[in-house]
C-alpha cells in the first residue's frame, strides 16, 4: 500500500493488507492525532487497508 504523510508530503510503501490501527502503530503515530483518509472518506482504526490501496495520513495536531 502507498501512504502519503501530511503535512510532510512524505511517501511510504508498506506491504500486505493491514488494519489502520496497526499501520499507525507501525509508524509510531497515536490514534486521535491523525486522520486516515482513503479517497474521499475517513477510515476508523478497526478497518483494513488492502495491499493495492493508497491512503493519506494527515496530522491534526497544531500548536505554538
Amino acid at each position: 500500500m502507498r501512504i502519503t504523510l501530511l503535512p510532510q508530503h512524505k511517501q511510504i510503501e508498506l506491504d500486505g493488507r493491514r488494519r489502520v490501527g496497526d499501520i499507525l502503530q507501525h509508524l509510531g503515530l497515536l490514534p486521535g492525532t491523525v486522520m486516515v483518509i482513503r479517497g474521499n472518506e475517513l477510515i476508523c482504526d478497526s478497518e483494513f487497508v488492502e495491499a493495492n490501496e493508497a491512503i493519506e495520513i494527515r496530522n491534526v495536531i497544531s500548536g505554538g
Partner: protein
C-alpha cells in the same frame, strides 16, 4: 464499525464519547455539541454579532462554518502575520472561505502595521510564539472594540485548553488558573467578552468536521511552532489519552466544574489603561506597546549606526 445514530458505516470513532458516527450524523453531532456549549456557558445570544478570529487553520474555519450553520450573525477577522509563504497561504485560504460563502472579513496585514512577526522576533529576541500571542491578543481586542462587536470567538479546542491547563498546573500559574475559562467577561471598557465555543471539541473532531464540510484549510504548520512547549504538552496528553480514553475531556471539564474555584482568590483583578495606546494593561504600558517600543529602539539603533558608518 457502525454509526451510533443511523447504523450506517461509521467514518469517525470518538473514544472519549464511546461513539462512532457516519459523516452526516457526525456533522450534526458536532454542531449540536457547539450549540450546547454556547448555550450552557452563556457565551452569546442570537441578538449579538460575533467577531470570529480566523487564521486559515482547521479550528477557526470549522468554528466559523459551525456558527454560520447554526444561524449566528458573524464577521471574520484575520491577521496576516507576515511569516512568508505560510502566512500568504493562510490568508488566501481565509479569504477564499469568506468569499465562497459571502461572509464579511476584516483583514489586517501586520507588515503594513510595522509589526510582522519575523520583524518583531528579530528586534526583540523573544520566542516567536510569545511575541505572536501578544500581537494577536492586542489586535483581536482592538479590532473587536473599534468595530463595536460585543463578543469575540476564537477556535481554541479541547486539546489547546488541556495543554494550557497542564502547563499552568505544572508551573502553578495561579493567576492563569484563576482566569482559564471558555468565557472571559470584559474587565475593561476596551475588552470585549471572549469565548471559546470549541473548548470541548478535540482537534481530531475539528479536523474531521473540516474534511467532511469540504473546508480548504492550511494543513501546513507554522514554521515557528517547531519545538513549541504546547506541542510537548499535547503529546504527553495524547499518550495518556491513548491508554485512558476521555482523559483530556475530564481534565478540562473537572477543572472547570470543581478545580477552578480553588484559584478564584488569585485573579489579576481589573487591568489599568496603557498610557501609550489606551488598551488594557497590567502596569503603565501594555505588553504590545512594550514590544513596539523594543522594535522602535532597535530601528533607531540601526539608523544611528547607519549614519555613523556613512559619515566615516
Amino acid at each position: 464499525m457502525k454509526c451510533k445514530r443511523c447504523q450506517s458505516k461509521a467514518e469517525v470513532h470518538l473514544r472519549q464519547h464511546n461513539s462512532a458516527f457516519c459523516r452526516g450524523c457526525f456533522v450534526f453531532f458536532l454542531q449540536r455539541q457547539v450549540q450546547r456549549a454556547i448555550e450552557k456557558q452563556r457565551m452569546f445570544t442570537r441578538d449579538e454579532e460575533v467577531l470570529v478570529a480566523v487564521s486559515g487553520g482547521k479550528d477557526s474555519l470549522a468554528l466559523w462554518d459551525i456558527l454560520v450553520e447554526l444561524g449566528f450573525r458573524t464577521t471574520g477577522m484575520h491577521l496576516a502575520l507576515g511569516i512568508g509563504a505560510y502566512s500568504q497561504a493562510s490568508t488566501e485560504k481565509t479569504e477564499a472561505f469568506a468569499r465562497a460563502r459571502g461572509l464579511r472579513l476584516i483583514a489586517v496585514r501586520l507588515e503594513e502595521e510595522g509589526v510582522a512577526i519575523p520583524t518583531v522576533v528579530a528586534a526583540t529576541h523573544r520566542p516567536a510564539c510569545a511575541a505572536c500571542g501578544i500581537i494577536k491578543r492586542h489586535y483581536f481586542d482592538r479590532l473587536a472594540f473599534e468595530h463595536g462587536f460585543p463578543v469575540l470567538a476564537t477556535g481554541h479546542n479541547l486539546d489547546d485548553e488541556a495543554a494550557r491547563l497542564l502547563g499552568n498546573v505544572l508551573h502553578w500559574q495561579l493567576h492563569h488558573l484563576a482566569k482559564q475559562h471558555p468565557v472571559m467577561e470584559s474587565t475593561h471598557e476596551r475588552f470585549v467578552r471572549k469565548v471559546k465555543p470549541l473548548f470541548r471539541i478535540s482537534e481530531y473532531e475539528t479536523a474531521a468536521y473540516a474534511f467532511f464540510r469540504g473546508i480548504d484549510y492550511i494543513v501546513e504548520e507554522c514554521p515557528n511552532s517547531v519545538g513549541a512547549t504546547q506541542l510537548v504538552y499535547k503529546d504527553a496528553l495524547n499518550r495518556l489519552e491513548t491508554v485512558m480514553s476521555g482523559t483530556k475531556l475530564a481534565f478540562v471539564q473537572e477543572f472547570l466544574r470543581t478545580g477552578r474555584v480553588a484559584f478564584a482568590g488569585h485573579s489579576d483583578g481589573a487591568p489599568e489603561t496603557c498610557a501609550r495606546c489606551g488598551a488594557p494593561a497590567f502596569g503603565s504600558r501594555c505588553a504590545f506597546c512594550g514590544l513596539v517600543h523594543e522594535v522602535e529602539a532597535k530601528r533607531q539603533r540601526r539608523a544611528t549606526a547607519g549614519c555613523a558608518n556613512k559619515s566615516q
